[in-house]
């Protein structure tokens, strides 16, 4: 007994004992040991860095990185730092493989990111099998919240229906729908097809006359043939369901061909607006957020982002930033990294500062976050600079409307969590 006491009080021997005990525990129940050891909370971040969605992916990484830095500067969560593992998701196959590796080898506590709906679905499947949380930040397809919804997936990004209804309200306001002949140009992949479907539904319901829809390959960069076609058909309205760099180029060339037919679309990102430039940007578009949003927290965020990255934040940066901040808040308030507790918290009656006038929240039945959206169009001020040649509307829905009016109802987009 004396021996034991003596040996235990010897610092070297105690260290050895503790070390081997920890080692044994680590071998026996690695998951348990990891959760208790105060090591970093790991976030697996996947987003396309190359290809036509690459420009947005770059901002996603900036937003996520900044969120992790802020969480860690505030002392981390539960006494643990956040660690961000970020990778190029490339395509659905690679995204799936990388998500698998992040879950199994890197033991990430949550997956965040993605922009392509197809890759998002692939990651969601990995997350569901591994019972890991996935906060998706850029996938628009309605089906991800409907037919393909998952208990483990939460949606920071607005769905196509929300975009279509946002632009739809603006078009109805301007008398651009009823009885008007409209032509569509659509990105030829899952996202574009879904967006076209939602747009057509909206236009049909509101009495517009459909002329044609052209599916354009995502790698097309030159649209003179389509633009000549618009001039030939002379519709009253042209609707774009294009994506990524397609949007930038189509918008620029629309201006180049001097087409004076009203132009609108159901998806726009600031990267595309900046890429089109002051002389190339045209049309009216729905957008989830811009640096012009008039809310105190938005203005502070813009200032912090500019200080950190020497440029303005893009809407994609905001989603990835918010995803990580919300995750940190959920972990801090549930005092846990357990997936079931976090899901219960996010599904619960909790709202979050989403850098807009009103707080946002997740709907418990499909995990869609609802928040204020905006429309954006070229500024009429000829002297506007490179930061403000576009103007952002007041929030949609208006202050006296429910945030849920934009998103599909349970009947419209049935989601059953397995």
């Amino acid at each position: 007994m004396t021996d034991e006491k003596n040996s235990a009080s010897s610092p070297r021997r105690r260290l050895l004992l503790q070390g081997s005990a920890a080692f044994a525990a680590g071998l026996a129940v690695p998951g348990f040991a990891r959760a208790q050891d105060g090591g970093p909370i790991r976030i697996g971040h996947l987003t396309p860095r190359t290809g036509f969605l690459g420009p947005m992916g770059e901002y996603a990484v900036l937003g996520a990185t900044m969120a992790v830095e802020e969480v860690n500067a505030a002392g981390g969560v539960l006494g643990r730092k956040f660690e961000l593992l970020t990778e190029d998701s490339v395509n659905p196959q690679t995204a799936s493989t990388k998500a698998q590796r992040m879950v199994e080898r890197d033991k990430v506590d949550a997956l965040v990111g993605e922009i392509s709906s197809a890759s998002g679905l692939a990651i969601a499947q990995v997350a569901a099998r591994a019972k890991t949380l996935f906060l998706q930040t850029g996938c628009n397809s309605d089906e991800l919240r409907g037919k393909n919804c998952s208990r483990y997936m939460f949606h920071l990004e607005a769905c196509n229906t929300m975009y279509v209804r946002t632009i739809g309200q603006a078009l109805l306001r301007d008398g651009m729908v009823k009885g008007k002949r409209w032509m569509a140009f659509t990105a030829d992949y899952a996202f574009g097809h879904d967006l076209f479907k939602q747009t057509k539904k909206f236009m049909d319901e509101n009495g517009a006359v459909f002329v044609s829809n052209d599916m354009l390959p995502t790698d097309a960069t030159e649209f003179s043939a389509s633009l000549l076609k618009i001039r030939q058909q002379k519709p009253d309205l042209v609707m774009s369901n294009l994506a990524g760099n397609q949007t930038t180029n189509f918008t620029k060339q629309y201006n180049e061909f001097n087409i004076d037919i009203p132009f609108a679309g159901a998806d726009m990102n600031m990267t595309s607006i900046w890429g089109a430039g002051k002389n190339g940007f045209s049309g009216v578009w729905p957008i989830i957020w811009t640096h012009q949003v008039q809310a105190p927290s938005a203005k502070e965020f813009v200032a912090r982002f500019q200080k950190r990255w020497k440029k303005l934040p893009e809407n994609q940066a905001v989603n990835d930033y918010l995803a990580i901040k919300i995750l940190a808040e959920a972990m801090a308030r549930t005092k846990s990294v357990e997936v079931d507790k976090i899901i219960a918290f996010l599904e619960g009656d909790n709202s979050f500062d989403v850098l807009r006038g009103r707080p946002g929240y997740f709907r418990p039945w499909d995990h869609q976050m609802v928040y204020e959206m905006y429309t954006v169009q070229p500024s009429e001020d000829k002297n506007a600079g490179k930061d403000d040649f576009m103007v952002t509307s007041k929030p949609v829905p208006a202050a006296d409307q429910s945030l849920e009016v934009l998103a599909p109802t349970q009947e419209e987009n049935m989601c059953k969590f397995a």
């Binding site: 860095r49 190359t50 290809g51 036509f52 690459g54 420009p55 992916g57 770059e58 901002y59 030829d188 052209d214 599916m215 354009l216 390959p217 790698d219 097309a220 960069t221 030159e222 649209f223 003179s224 043939a225 389509s226 000549l228 076609k229 001039r231 030939q232 760099n245 930038t248 180029n249 620029k252 060339q253 180049e256 061909f257 001097n258 990267t271 595309s272 900046w274 890429g275 089109a276 430039g277 002051k278 002389n279 190339g280 893009e314 490179k386």
Partner: protein, 293 residues
């Protein structure tokens, strides 16, 4: 004339114009391959450098001067790459140069991404080239017509250089029988440096011309390179006119598919290539190369 016919004629004309853009980039690819046996997978990356240069230099030099300096700078860069890298591969296994240029294209693309970011840079058509030309039912932006003239001038200039000068005679002799040229006491090294400078400079020029139309972003080279290869393969190796005819054909086919069945507009190029290769494996006007057989 029925309206539909006017539409189709307009699309054919547009296709021919598009053909000239393909031609500019394919021509350089073709002459570097013909003379050096190097399949330059980095050709698209030089096209991207041309586009970035005009965006970057326009601010300080103004559009006019930047328009001249940018392609020349890309050409000089091409000469340096020839002098220090390509030269090592002329007599080596073609796989090596393929791997080298592939790596070079990735290095350039990633370097552009690191320096300028992944987002497209905004660059507009210069003020003086705004506006459209309208003749009856025909309609076309002024800038694109200007591009057409620049492209024609570049192609004609290249043809004259290759067919009406002593330099061109050496190039042609070098393509057909490099050993005999060497036996005559003519060094092919400076000729190759010049040819790479010219070919890569043409890629830079296409980048300069297309910068205001398609977005200036790091992957822009990859997007155009595939189309350029299709043109070279359809036209046939070593044939100047083969590449010219193929570029026009590709432009028109793509234009018409975009009009009648847009989802296949990109695929149409490859179908055309497939068809030509089945009927004429050497390409439309391709010659027989002893050292490649």
């Amino acid at each position: 004339m029925p309206t539909e016919l006017i539409f189709i004629i307009q699309q054919v004309a547009n296709g021919l114009l598009l053909g000239f853009y393909y031609l500019l980039i394919a021509l350089g690819l073709s002459i570097i391959f013909s003379l050096g046996g190097i399949v330059n997978l980095a050709h698209g990356a030089f096209y991207a450098i041309g586009a970035y240069l005009i965006v970057f230099l326009s601010d300080s030099l103004g559009y006019g001067l930047a328009f001249v300096v940018s392609p020349v700078a890309v050409g000089v860069l091409g000469m340096l790459v020839e002098r220090f890298f390509f030269r090592r591969f002329y007599r080596a296994d073609p796989t090596l140069s393929l791997l080298f240029t592939f790596a070079l294209s990735m290095v350039i693309e990633q370097a552009l991404r690191m320096i300028f970011g992944a987002s497209p840079l905004s660059f507009s058509i210069p003020e003086f080239a705004h506006g459209q030309v309208i003749v009856g039912d025909f309609f076309y932006p002024v800038y694109r017509i200007g591009m057409l003239f620049v492209a024609i001038a570049a192609v004609v200039g290249t043809w004259l250089l290759l067919n009406r000068t002593a330099f061109g005679k050496i190039v042609k002799a070098g393509i057909n029988d490099p050993d005999m040229v060497r036996a005559m006491g003519i060094s092919l090294n400076p000729v190759m440096t010049a040819v790479c400078g010219l070919g890569i400079g043409l890629a830079g020029l296409s980048g300069v011309l297309l910068a205001p139309i398609t977005g200036v972003q790091p992957a822009m080279g990859q997007e155009i390179l595939t189309a350029a290869f299709v043109v070279v393969v359809i036209g046939g190796l070593g044939s100047f006119w083969g590449v010219v005819v193929a570029a026009m054909l590709v432009g028109v086919i793509r234009g018409l598919t975009s009009y009648f069945y847009p989802p296949a507009s990109e695929a149409s190029l490859y179908l055309l290539m497939l068809l030509i290769l089945v009927l004429r494996p050497r390409g439309l006007l391709g010659e027989k190369f002893e050292r490649l057989e």
